[in-house]
Each structure stands twice: as structure tokens, then as C-alpha cells.
Subunit: 514 residues, 2 copies
């Protein structure tokens, strides 16, 4: 505070002082998580085999629908499926055979090579919330999201140490025409951040635009030989693959770009009310979707996705952070690993309307299960509020701070000679204390995870500073980060080429708001 | 609301209506958790063996202090330890040999036999917060705790479905003299609840009073042959056993009553700054403490305790819900299981001053690790605030609600024919929905955990009802529960005998407030 007011009082040197302060803001990005702890496995071998057997039974006997997509039906027929109208019945074992070409892990390149991520294996890559039409902050309340909000979230994600990925539709910029939104969103990810990002899936033509913009950013040849986008293609559960999502998947797979093939399930509504039944359906759906991606292009990178919530049977509302959601997340992780596929699930899920205790309980439950279940790509890892209807600014930085806890947990426990600390125990002895001892001095800086949001001050200090709750602390953090944001550098020619592409595209069609 | 005002308007039948309403309040207590999920193990075999070897080295070469307790030193000498002043060095393997008589699990009896608990094995018993000198609620703010507050917490614990245990010093009743407090606290647990409880440890004479009051409640012979109290005897880490705690442990062990033998460690202050070093010290301390209990009475029931927090190296404040605290909790669980001892750790830990998002993140992290680490007895499982300085009324019911999530998680995943739900999947098929199907109707009531605090309503309904945050919802829940509390029945002669005992005791000594 004293420093700030000194700066405000000073004249002339203010600009330099502010620049110096900005330079001092850390924008480190942690490496994606490489787990050094076991996965938590809730299903035994017998349960896994039953679920796997039943999923094949569904594919064979019930089948899945590929809707409004005659080319897909033709491809399935050629691959050996039994196609009847839009219903595709897949003989036992065929899907499993087809997905063998899918890579068990892949690199998604960022324009800053230091921020490229490897998705799969023991890794976990964290990306922010996706899809909310509303935003909320303490000052402005709940309101429709705009492009200005979108840009702010991209900046916050860029500045978060624990986010490895810039995400996709961090909120819906409702002030931009629906048919042009994807261009501005991609431009924000490409220019305001240097982390990896997602492409558009709201229309196959927009997926194509996404690929073309990446060709400008990364070079055409690079894009054909490397994965530079990971995009979210949902399945309309139960067992329905629509032409928009599958059309987008076709574009991405053909261009060697990654897709998350992800059932979207509110348990009890889009899947059976039981955990085992839901897992069976999830597996059947993912097998069909990923098999289809490999028919399009064998070897195309894909992720086994599972977005599954429980439900409040009174209101029909999806519920989060519940035991049933955890069971499904753990179980789906086991199923994904048995298929040797990267796994996407979990996130900062909550049903609360405010970034309050309910939001935090539900979110912490969901984040913990995400880490423990072996998730490789965690979309929605921060900022999610109100069942995904709202992207909340305070919750974004609160959750992002908690992602540091996951990084620490994943490191596991060192037990080398320094970690054993026998010298310290001998030195201090019964009744002593460790604060001053040599081992503590040598290790304390790296010993403990540090928050950048939460309050650990003595009660009296906290009271003197205004008795702020977490949301107020987070508001201050949001303001601080946005005030100190610095845009990563970019070749001006690339930027101009992207701008020209977008201008052309926008001029080529009238605005559409549906 | 309509119903309530109808009752208020009605005359004559009001009393009966109110009684009927009270009777309708559920005061079910769930059975203690019997885990049907694996434990999470963070340490590998090599790390475990190193820690176990090093712990014996500490006991042999550094030793532990038994302070102001000549009889304990004599006992240790007779048991084969090397005693030098107050320092007790325990030859490698001796402590491990001595603890072999400690039971791997034991039953703690409640006066209502349906609420007796089995502590150990795959079970988890949940007890409320212990020890805070302050209480807080939304209306009254933060203030010194009184006996009235204490009684309210005992009532709330009695009415919580997910608490199996009434606990001990749920808050410090600072309006009662220190030397008489334990009598009123025990009386509250014995009469306002019928769940199992803890005895006093603040002086050996008070431990004796606790045993005598239990002899009145349960009968003298029953107490000698059965465990009716589980009490908390802390170790003053590093490696110091004081005469008050050990004196209390001596009373309890002699009378076959259970003690939690628990290091109290703020990592980096009372133990090395590293996880492996802290675990080594914890193991050495618990080995010494439990060995001592078995010298007092072979077969006395005991629990391997570990209260360990991380630390904010800037302020020295203990920190909660951190990765380091989780690593220690997981690791200590493994060490306890290898000794075949029940394990106590975790709780609703947080450093926050308010029951806000920080409190909930930290608490959820701590509760989850408690379940996954195999804890058998979880003290502090609800109501803990501000590093344990405050027992918070709203957080008590918020946390208690989350304990239901742990119950659900621990159940594991069913995969019988009903759970497989293949009939439902066939019936609904691609593009259908499950809400109306037979399987959903037959299973939905038991399918999902239900909150009694959190909000799942549509945004508009929530807004119309006042846009309440979690704390406000919890305030209403506290008020509702206390308004509907009904005291469990007790034999009047027993109650009179307890009252007479307390009156005699109180008359026998002047008040003391230190």
C-alpha cells in the first residue's frame, strides 16, 4: 500500500515505475502435470469385464444413430457395420479393432513451443471453463457474456501459472454474430495468449475456418503434420451422433487435429440412473465415436471423454461433486486406460449460483476426483459456475489457485536422504523446534505449495484489512492480474494475415444470430 | 410457509400440531462407514521401509522425553528401555514388540446400543470438531464459546445423520470453571445425545471423573469389560510426552478405555519441513506412545493418530487442504495399517476466518483425503474454522452435509444385474430419455446422495427466494434443527445419579479458571 501511494504521488517517473511493476508480474506457466502418484481404481476386474462386455452388446444389438449424415452411414457400412436407416449396429469387437490406430498420447503444439503439451500417459493438462452464455463478477453481477469478457478470461488464463491450455469457448461472446464468433474467439486465443487452444465445433465450416487460421499461425505444412488444436465433439447421449459435431470431427480428423469424443450425460436422464449402467453406455458411445474418427483417418488423435453429472430427482437439475459423479469419473478412467486412450473428464464443477462454500465443496470434490481418476485433459478446470451457465471471474482465479494443489499432490513423496531429514531430527531432538534448523532453511522455499488468493493472516490483521471473504480476495486478484497483463509477442506479419483472413470471412456472409 | 402460518392462526390444536411436526423430523444416524473402495497409497514399499527403519533409529539413538513422570520412566526402564534423566531411548524393535498386544479394532459402546461403533478395519467413524475456544455464527459473529453453545453443538451432532459420534470438547465452555468444565461437558454428551463420546484429558483426575461418570451411565462392571470412551491424548511434538496427557492415558488404559495417541504437528515447526521426515517422526512418536499404553495395560484399545498441518512460512500459520498435508495423511495411513492399528487423521480443516469458499476448498480437500487414506476415526469432521480456533455453527451443518458424500463414495460401485441396467438401455435406445423408464422409477430414490443444505434450484427460483449463499442456507438449517430437537430418553434414576455425582464434585473444590 505504501509503495502504491508513493508511486501515485511521484510525477514524471510514474510510467517507468508502472512498467517496472508490470515486468515484475510473474507469468510463469507450470509444466503440465506428470503424475508420480497412483490412479484410484474403484472398479474391480470383474466389474470392468462386465461393463466392457455389455458395451459391445449395446453396439451390436441396440446400435447408435448417426443423424443427417449419409456419408457417415456409408463409411460405417464399408467398415463392416450393419446400417439400418440412421441406426448403426457395430458387430462385437469391430469398434475395438478400429480404435487400435488411435494414439495413446499426442503432442498438441502451442505457438510458444515451451507451452506445447503432451496429452495422455501419466500427464494431466488443465484448460479453463468452456461454453457459458453468462458471466458473473462481484461488481457486475450475472449478465450475458461479451467479447470483452472473453478477452479478459483469455488473459487470466494466460497469466495463470497452473493452466497449461487456453481452452476454447471460455464464455459465449453473445455480442458477436453466431456465424462469426469463432473467428474472434480464435483470434483472442492466438494473439492474447501463447498457450495451446481449441477449435470451433458449432459447424463443420467453422471447424474448417479454425484449421485455416491455424495454417496461417503455424504454417500449412506444420498443421498437416502436427496437432495444434484439441476440440470438443460431444455425443448427444443416449447414443446419438449429430451431423454438426460429427461434421466437425470429420474436418479435424482429416487434418490430423485432436478431438475429445465425449458423451454429455446427466445421469438418470441421458443414461441409466445407476453408475454401472452409465459407464456401460459411456463406453459404448465412446467406442463408436472414436472408431468413427479412425475410419475418417487412422491415427487421428482423439481423447476418451466423459462429461457425466448426477441429477437432483426433484428438480431435474444436474448435480456436481457428488459420490455418484466421482464413481463414474473413476470408472471411466479405468475404461479409458484399458483402451490405451487419453482420458478427459472432471473440472471445477458446481451447481451453486455464487462462488461460495457450496461452489467450493463441489469444485474441490470434482478437482480431486479428476486428479485421482487419471484424467489426461481437464476441461473446465477453473471458472465454472451454476451448472456451466456462468463463467465467474472470481471463481476463475480461486479455482486456478486450487489447481496448484493438484500439481503438488501429483508430485508424490520424495524419500531421498534430504527428504528423510534424519540430520534435522537429530539436531532438534525432543522438545526443540525446527523453524531455525539448517534443513528447514535449506528446504522451506520449495517445501510447501503457496496460494496466491487465500488468506492465512492472523485474525486481527485480517479484520483490520476489512474481514474479506474469498470472493473479495479473488476480486482483488482479478483486478491485479488484468491491470498487469502484457500481451505475448507475435510476428506482425502473422497477425496481419490473421486479421485479413477474418475480415474476408466476415465480409463473405451476413450476420446471423441463431 | 403456508402450513406454518395456518398453524399459527389455528387455536387449541397448536400444541398437537407442533408435536406432530417435531416427530416428523428425522434423527436417523447412518451406520459408521464400511469402506467398499480401496485405500489410496502414496508411498511405495521402499519408502515405507526406509521410514520404518529411520523411526526405529530415532527411538534408539535420539529417544523421546517423558516429562515430570517418574513412574513412566520406571516403567520404561523395566520394559527394557535406556532411561537417562527424562530421556527414554528404546532399543530397535522393542516398541514394535510391545504394541503387538494393541487390538486392531475395538467396539466403542454408546448408551444406545444401535449407535455403538467399531473403530478399525475398513470402517470410518465420524466425530465433530474438538477444542475451539471461540464460536461463530452469522448472527452473533465470533465470540468466546459458552456452555450454551456447547449444548447446541451436541444437539446438532445428535441430529446429524452422518455423524456417528458426539465427540468431546466440541467447543470450550469458557463460562464454566476450568476444573469443573469436564463434568458439564460429559453430562451434555450423556444426556442430550445417545451417541458415543470422548472423555477429559486436561488432568488425570478429570480422566478419572470421566470413568466414574461412565460407571454411573453404563454400570461399573460394563465399563471394566468394555470400551465406552475414546479420548484424545496428544504428543507434544517433537518427541515429548507430558505428564498431563500421559497421566490421562494411564487412567484410560488401566480402565480399558481407548486413547488416540496423536502427534500434534505443524510441519516445519514441530517436525522437519519434508513429508518423509515428518512421517518418520510421527511414526517414532506413535510407536513410543502406543508402546507405553501397552506397558500400562496390554490389550488396551488405542488409535494411531496423526494431526499434521503444513505451514505458511511467511506468517508461521498452519495451513490446511494442502498437498503436503495430504501426502502426510496418506502416508501415515499406510504406516498405521502396517502396524495393524486403527488410524485417526483428517477432518474439516481450514484456515479461513469465515465459512466461505476458502473454508470449503480446504475442508473438501481434507475430507476427501481422510476417506481415501483409510482413516478409521475422523475427529473434527465438521464445524472446524480458522485453524481450529473457532467452532462455526453454519459450517458445522455444511460440513456434516458433505459427510454424506463420503458415505456415498465409500459404498463403491454395484454391478449386479439391476445396476448393469441393460434392460433400461435397450428400452430407451438412441435419442430417448431415461427419466420415465421403469429402471429409473425403481431406483431413483436410492440412486443419488441428497443434500440437506445446498441449493439446486433454478436460478429464478433461487433469486426469488433471496439469492441466499451457502452460509445463509446453513443458518436456516441450524435454526430448523435446534427448533426441532428432541432429547433422547434416559432412565431418570441414572440422570439423578449423574447430577448428584456432579454436584458433589463441584462442591468438593473451589472454582479455578486456569
Amino acid at each position: 500500500m505504501a509503495e502504491a501511494s508513493a508511486r501515485r504521488r511521484g510525477r514524471g517517473g510514474g510510467g517507468a515505475a508502472r512498467r517496472a511493476e508490470r515486468t515484475a508480474v510473474r507469468i510463469d506457466t507450470a509444466k503440465y502435470i506428470e503424475r508420480n502418484i497412483p490412479n484410484f481404481e474403484v472398479l474391480n476386474e470383474e466389474a470392468l469385464e462386465i461393463i466392457e462386455y455389455n458395451a459391445e452388446t449395446i453396439l451390436e444389438e441396440v446400435g447408435v444413430n448417426f443423424v443427417d449424415n449419409p456419408a457417415a452411414l456409408e463409411r460405417w457400412r464399408n467398415a463392416g457395420a450393419d446400417v439400418d436407416g440412421e441406426r448403426v449396429r457395430i458387430p462385437r469387437g469391430l469398434a475395438r479393432q478400429l480404435i487400435k490406430t488411435a494414439p495413446s498420447q499426442f503432442t498438441q503444439h502451442a505457438r510458444n513451443p515451451e507451452k506445447s503439451v503432451v496429452i495422455g500417459g501419466r500427464n494431466m493438462v488443465l484448460a479453463p471453463v468452456y461454453g457459458p452464455p453468462f458471466v458473473r463478477d462481484a461488481q457486475g453481477g450475472r449478465r450475458y457474456a461479451t467479447m470483452d469478457d472473453f478477452n479478459k478470461f483469455v488473459k487470466l488464463a494466460y497469466m495463470s501459472k497452473w493452466l497449461h491450455h487456453s481452452g476454447g469457448t471460455v464464455c459465449e461472446p453473445t455480442d458477436i454474430p453466431v456465424n462469426k464468433r469463432h473467428l474472434d474467439m480464435l483470434m483472442a486465443h492466438m494473439t492474447l495468449s501463447d498457450k495451446p487452444f481449441m477449435g470451433s465445433v458449432t459447424d463443420p465450416s467453422r471447424a474448417k475456418d479454425s484449421v485455416e487460421m491455424c495454417e496461417i499461425l503455424f504454417g500449412k505444412e506444420f498443421v498437416q503434420n502436427n496437432t495444434v488444436m484439441t476440440s470438443l465433439t460431444n455425443i448427444n447421449s443416449p447414443m446419438t451422433f449429430d451431423d454438426v459435431m460429427m461434421g466437425s470431427l470429420e474436418v479435424y480428423a482429416k487434418n490430423n487435429q485432436a478431438c475429445i469424443v465425449s458423451p454429455f450425460i446427466v445421469g438418470g436422464a441421458m443414461a441409466p440412473v445407476s453408475v454401472a449402467g452409465t459407464l456401460t453406455q459411456v463406453l459404448a458411445e465412446v467406442l463408436a465415436g472414436i472408431a468413427y474418427s479412425q475410419i475418417i483417418r487412422p491415427g487421428a488423435p482423439v481423447i476418451f471423454g466423459a462429461f457425466v453429472t448426477s441429477i437432483d430427482m426433484n428438480s431435474g437439475a444436474p448435480t456436481f461433486g457428488t459420490p455418484e459423479a466421482a464413481h463414474i469419473t473413476y470408472g471411466a478412467g479405468q475404461l479409458a486406460r484399458r483402451l490405451n486412450l487419453p482420458y478427459r473428464s472432471a473440472g471445477s464443477f458446481c451447481g451453486s449460483k455464487l462462488p461460495d462454500a457450496q461452489a467450493a465443496y463441489e469444485t474441490a470434490n470434482s478437482l480431486n476426483m479428476g486428479l485421482m481418476s487419471g484424467v489426461n485433459f481437464m476441461l473446465h478446470s477453473c471458472g465454472w459456475l451454476e451448472g456451466g451457465l456462468v463463467a465467474d471471474f472470481e471463481k476463475f482465479v480461486m479455482d486456478a489457485d486450487q489447481l496448484g494443489v493438484l500439481h503438488g499432490l501429483a508430485k508424490g513423496v520424495a524419500y531421498d536422504e534430504n527428504a528423510q531429514a534424519m540430520g534435522a531430527i537429530r539436531e532438534v531432538g525432543p522438545g526443540g523446534h525446527y523453524l531455525g534448523c539448517e534443513h528447514t532453511q535449506a528446504n522451506f522455499k520449495e517445501a510447501f505449495w503457496k496460494t496466491e488468493v487465500l488468506d492465512y493472516k492472523p485474525f486481527e490483521t485480517w479484520q483490520d484489512e476489512g474481514s474479506r471473504d474469498t470472493r473479495q480476495l479473488a476480486s482483488a486478484r482479478v483486478e491485479y492480474l488484468l491491470a498487469n497483463y502484457q500481451q505475448p509477442q507475435m510476428d506482425p506479419a502473422t497477425k496481419e494475415a490473421l486479421e485479413a483472413y477474418i475480415a474476408d470471412k466476415k465480409a463473405s456472409m451476413p450476420d446471423a444470430f441463431t
